[in-house]
């Protein structure tokens, strides 16, 4: 199996893709747009470098075979090897120049938040590895020793509907309590190791939250919820949060943030795709096999006393099983 890690780099000054469009509430456009534009940027950078080196030496860059098509891509795309990188069994899309990253000031000056999305199709048993890997990448990118808040989002949960009471009730039957509780020790481990100062859940309604709190060792200090009108917190949830001293934060992410089809489109040969996947229809070469998105982590670093977002980005992990 090949492991892929997709990344956006710092998107905070990345232009319109990060701006919420009216009517596109709770979409994953920020993730998909910024991945796409980061792929294109990496390809263009390569093309520009190539043009420069052609001018000077009229040379030719040799692609070493990565198991990825090393030939010049279809439709003028640069070869995958030129803008992706393979390291420790992971294919980075695009290649990451770790040296170019990091925060400008001391890590203590920031509030760093990471939100980890476990995706629906990936095995629950692998979640400890996913969590560890996701957080490692965030800390490496920011060159920070820990995140201040680690938010965990489990698949299959949301607050739906106009009536918030209704949403809270529905929520009670969503997700999978056993899977969520089985996953939590791995998250607690990250906390104990000092990598995540506070833990946070996402989309837990009052009933689920009450059940969850009874069965875990390190409690979540925060619950992040999405409400159409954030003035209408379901009263049972508001009450429970108050009793338990849990802070309720707002978000506008969607839970199924990277569906399988979307990932294939992002990496595929189609219009706007990165051209990494083989396409039997067009005969384009590339990665073969079944591609499964496993996790996504969104991270932000905000300068605490100035309210300035200095860094925001995503990593996404996926597995490719050869057929």
């Amino acid at each position: 199996m090949t492991k892929l890690i997709l990344s956006t780099g710092n998107i905070v000054s990345g232009g319109p893709s990060i701006i919420r469009k009216p009517g596109a509430f709770r979409s994953n456009l920020e993730l998909t747009n910024s991945l796409r534009s980061n792929f294109i940027a990496a390809q263009e950078d390569y093309a520009a470098e190539l043009a420069e080196s052609h001018e000077t030496a009229n040379g030719h860059t040799n692609g070493t075979t990565n198991g990825v098509d090393a030939e010049a891509g279809i439709g003028g795309r640069p070869p995958a090897t030129a803008w992706t990188a393979r390291k420790d069994g992971i294919l980075y899309v695009p290649a990451i120049e770790w040296d170019a990253h990091g925060l400008q000031e001391e890590p203590a000056e920031y509030d760093i938040t990471a939100k980890l999305f476990f995706l629906p199709g990936a095995p629950v048993s692998q979640r400890p590895q996913y969590a560890k890997q996701a957080l490692e990448h965030v800390l490496r990118e920011l060159r920070a020793p820990a995140v201040d808040l680690l938010i965990v989002s489990f698949p299959g949960m949301s607050f739906e509907g106009d009536c918030e009471w209704e949403a809270d009730k529905k929520n009670a039957a969503q997700g999978n309590d056993e899977d969520e509780i089985a996953t939590w020790p791995a998250i607690e481990e990250l906390h104990r190791a000092g990598l995540a100062k506070k833990l946070c859940l996402a989309e837990f309604g009052s009933e689920k939250l009450a059940r969850f709190l009874q069965r875990v060792q390190v409690r979540a200090a925060v619950n992040q919820i999405n409400l159409k009108n954030c003035c209408d917190v379901p009263p049972p949830l508001a009450k429970l949060a108050k009793e338990q001293g849990i802070e309720l934060l707002v978000h506008s992410d969607c839970t199924d943030i990277l569906p399988k089809g979307t990932l294939r489109e992002l990496l595929g040969q189609g219009l706007g795709g990165a051209g990494l996947l083989a396409d039997p229809e067009t005969g384009a070469g590339g990665l073969q096999g079944d591609l499964t998105p496993q996790w996504v982590v969104k991270y932000t670093a905000v300068v605490r006393d100035r309210g300035v977002i200095e860094y925001k980005g995503y990593f996404a992990g996926a597995g490719l099983v050869d057929e």
Binding site: V12, S13, G14, G15, P16, I18, I19, R20, K21, P22, A41, E44, D45, A48, E105, D111, T113, L149, I225, L227, N229, C230, C231, V233, E247, L248, L249, V250, H251, S252, T300, V302, D305, R306, G307, V308, I309, E310, K312
Partner: protein, 624 residues
């Protein structure tokens, strides 16, 4: 050149100042009026000094019985020390600021509104029972014939020589009458504040200001009106009080360092006219409906000390240069060393004192900032106190502040004080005061969030400075927010590293686009929402912030009225209004009474709804 020494002293001491945290402050200005149910007249109270005295001698300000709950149950108990009250130019005015600056914690943003209410309540508590602090920008009948102040003083005094307002209208501190007298004497005539009158169905046309007296012969300046100072179809005013007697909402930000301060100064500058139009609240002058909605140009004219030579009316003989703008005007410089600042954005007609600029350059200042200050220094200092001149103390900043504080551009770049205890600051000055503290808090918080958006997303709002000037004029039009379009940059986002920064792609922004996305211009409100989506905000805070953004979004779309539109509607629907542009005493009383009633309900934490006031639901949209 004491000023320059002081400025260079500040510069050399503070240019390396780093990592100051984000602090900010708001200033709310009030008119003080007398009102009682049975008295047919509403008057301006001239008891500023007594009120300030009462406030200053009350050591228990913080324990005042003023801690009203907001409709959502939160209250005004904040971490703040008691608010601070200040004198203002008009003797009928009062200014209040928070007891200490605000930070950027989102919960702290929510303390602003209760704190503003607390300030108003404390102010009221130290007034006579028939006095009220209100936040209309101007008193509708300031300068009308008859009695409009309490106590009454006759006009035509030696200081102002105004035929409409008495000398006693101004704060008696020596600074203020001196300022007014010096402006008049420098000009060689009185100031001329002429506002186009609004032409209604029954307004005689051409319209001649019926309150102008052409037969006054007390002062040489009484000749002004005989020499054409009062043209047809304009409301004519002749004193500094008509401008400087306006209330506004000013916000000051502390920057992280010099570079960030310069960036904020430049980037907020093009937003000034848009926020002026959105906060428009000034449709009445001297008892007549004006054809404009905002105070800006009136203040500009009210402190315009340019001589006929500087104005270009006479050939230059004694003066050094022609000066295109009043000392109160929209910005004339950009000051950042941002690579995105292209040469064509600068004002080609900028006047600078080249000698001063050279001295600043020699003193180690860079070209752009030296140009900025050398531009401010083309103005004479109009108030200098002899005690300051006796001993020039480099550890103080008074001399520099003298020039700085009598240059009123829509942004102000403020160097740290002599002791370096505060960082580089930027003041955002164009907004008009709003009737309720809910609205004032909404606009204050909005502009604070906009600065965070600009810095986070590294946005580029640069447009040619001449276009900002033009926008400032556009903002004056009646209902500019609905009917006019503003030059606005459409490509705000940074280009990728390899590409040089693109020139401004100018669009005509309709403020409604604040809420929509046209091509790649996302709109200001979606930018703020995207910012809030990217930071951790608790549910209750986000809910309250959403109400603020909602107010501004609906003002921009025209769904809700500006205060100017509300006042016009109030006048138009009043039984005494004869469609002749005249806002009489009866209308004024009912208008101010309505404002007082809304203020009382807001102070008690009651829902405002319509509370029996004409059109109030269109002003506030049921958000409070």
């Amino acid at each position: 050149m004491g000023l320059l020494c002081q400025l260079l002293e500040i510069w050399n001491k503070a240019k390396g100042k780093e990592r100051d945290i984000m602090l900010w402050g708001d200033e709310v200005e009030y008119l003080v009026v007398t009102y009682s149910k049975d008295d047919p007249k509403i008057l301006l109270s001239l008891r500023q000094a007594d009120i300030l005295e009462a406030l200053a001698s009350d050591k228990a300000l913080a324990k005042a019985k003023c801690a009203p709950a907001l409709p959502d149950g939160s209250n005004a108990q904040t971490s703040q020390p008691p608010p601070v009250f200040h004198p203002e130019f008009g003797r009928f005015m009062l200014e209040a600021t928070p007891g200490k600056p605000w930070g950027i914690g989102f919960k702290e943003l929510l303390e602003v509104e209760p704190n503003m209410k607390l300030r108003r309540c404390i102010a009221k508590d130290h007034m006579l029972s028939n006095e009220y602090p209100i936040t209309l920008t101007t008193f509708p009948r300031l300068g009308s014939p008859g009695v409009f102040t309490e106590p009454y003083y006759p006009p035509s005094g030696s200081r102002l020589r105004s035929q409409f307002v008495p000398d006693e209208i101004a704060n008696p501190h020596i600074r203020f009458p001196t300022l007014a007298a010096n402006i008049r004497s420098r000009r060689g005539r009185k100031v001329q504040v002429n506002v186009p009158v609004y032409r209604d169905e029954n307004t005689p046309w051409p319209w001649r200001d019926p309150t102008v007296n052409y037969d006054l012969h007390q002062w040489p300046e009484d000749d002004d009106v005989r020499n054409g100072a009062s043209p047809d179809n304009f409301i004519h005013m002749d004193a500094m009080a008509f401008g400087m007697g306006s209330c506004c909402l000013q916000i000051t930000f502390q920057a992280k360092n010099l570079t960030e301060g310069r960036q904020m100064y430049d980037q907020l500058s093009p937003l000034g006219p848009i926020l002026l139009a959105l906060t428009a609240a000034t449709p009445v002058y001297k008892g007549f409906l004006a054809d404009t909605d905002v105070r800006w140009n009136q203040i500009s004219k009210a402190v315009d000390d340019r001589t006929p030579e500087e104005l270009g009316e006479k050939p230059l003989k004694n003066d050094r240069w022609r000066i295109p703008k009043s000392r109160y005007a929209s910005n004339s410089t950009y000051i950042s060393e941002d690579h995105r600042l292209r040469p064509e954005y600068f004002d080609p007609d900028l006047v600078v004192d080249e000698d001063i600029k050279q001295q600043l350059l020699d003193g180690g200042m860079d070209d752009r900032l030296a140009t900025h200050f050398a531009h401010l220094f083309i103005r004479d200092p109009i108030v200098i106190f002899s005690e300051d001149l006796k001993e020039l103390d480099l550890s103080k900043t008074d001399h520099f502040e003298n020039i700085q504080s009598t240059n009123w551009q829509h942004m102000r770049f403020k160097p740290p004080p002599a002791d370096n205890s505060i960082g580089w600051r930027v003041e955002f000055r164009p907004m008009e005061i709003q009737i309720t503290d809910f609205e004032n808090a909404a606009f204050a918080v909005f502009i604070v969030l906009i600065t965070r958006v600009i810095l986070s997303y590294n946005l580029n709002f640069y447009i040619p400075i001449k276009k900002v000037d033009e926008n400032m004029e556009t903002a004056h039009a009646r209902d500019a927010v609905l009917d006019r379009r503003f030059f606005f940059r459409r490509n705000l986002f940074p280009a990728r590293a390899r590409v040089p920064p693109p020139p401004a792609r100018l669009g005509r922004l309709h403020p409604e686009e604040d809420t929509e996305s046209g091509d790649d211009f996302p709109g200001l409100i979606p930018l703020v929402e995207s910012y809030l989506d990217s930071v951790n905000v608790d549910v209750a805070t986000r809910c309250r912030l959403a109400a603020y953004l909602d107010l501004i979004r609906r003002r921009a779309s025209g769904e809700l009225w500006t205060a100017a539109r509300w006042i016009r509607e109030f006048v138009a629907r009043h039984p005494e209004y004869k469609r002749d542009s005249v806002v009489g005493e009866g209308i004024t009383k009912d208008l101010v009474e309505a404002v007082i009633r809304v203020g009382e309900r807001e102070a008690k934490g009651e829902r405002l709804g319509s509370c029996g006031v004409v059109g109030l639901e269109r002003l506030l949209g049921g958000l409070r």
